[in-house]
Amino acid sequence: MKTLSIIESAYRATVEEQDDTIVWIHGAMKGAGAELAVLLRGNAVNYLVEAQNAGGLAFGDWEQTQPPRLASDLAALAAKGVEICYVAEDVAERGIERSELIAGVQPVAREAVAELVGRYERVWHW
């Protein structure tokens, strides 16, 4: 059953986990054969910004060598066949230009979210 996952939560534990755990679990489920689509909304639309860079953190003499690479992870998810959409107004309200976003993702108007939700038998909100 194809599932739409609406992802809203952003930058919650990404440094510690070195991933966004919700994006990550979708990669893992896709690898296990899941049929998935993703709608990014709220602050999570910022995950599509190609220029994100969380590198260089150190805590004492412990250096983080694998920072989260959220835009790449979403691009990889898209490359695996997961349709990735984002709420267009949420991008605009945050002053993000479309040219800043990774390729291969589709805008959805806020007023069209209900129609998108209606197309999937299963809808999860993260």
Partner: protein
């Protein structure tokens, strides 16, 4: 027609994003889906008569069934008899009923 149960656990005093559930509920109801908005935890705070409850009353007027978890209300000392217009108290069983009956249930 599809059945939806949207669970709102956030409140407008703490979160801007309660608009998401309200807007989604309204949009889904506008195209004749059966929509329930179930308030739980601090999500029941605007259900108190006189609180920031206009959105809830408007949703009820638009055909959305607006319910507030009885336990969450009692926990916060909100009198079930003095809820905002259009809001009714209900047990959490409503959520389990919706799940059991195959409604699309979304937690916000």
């Amino acid at each position: 027609m599809t059945r939806y149960l949207l669970i709102e656990s956030r409140d407008p005093f703490d979160s801007n994003d309660v608009r998401f559930c309200c807007d989604l509920a309204q949009q889904l109801a506008a195209v004749k889906n059966e929509v329930t908005l179930f308030l739980v935890k601090n999500g029941v705070l605007p259900a108190r008569s006189g609180a920031r409850s206009d959105d809830l009353t408007r949703l009820a007027g638009a055909g959305v069934r607006v319910l507030a978890d009885s336990f969450s209300l009692r926990e916060r000392g909100i009198d079930e008899r003095r809820l905002a217009t259009g809001v009714a108290a209900a047990p959490l069983d409503v959520v389990m009923d919706a799940l059991a009956e195959g409604a699309k249930v979304i937690w916000h």
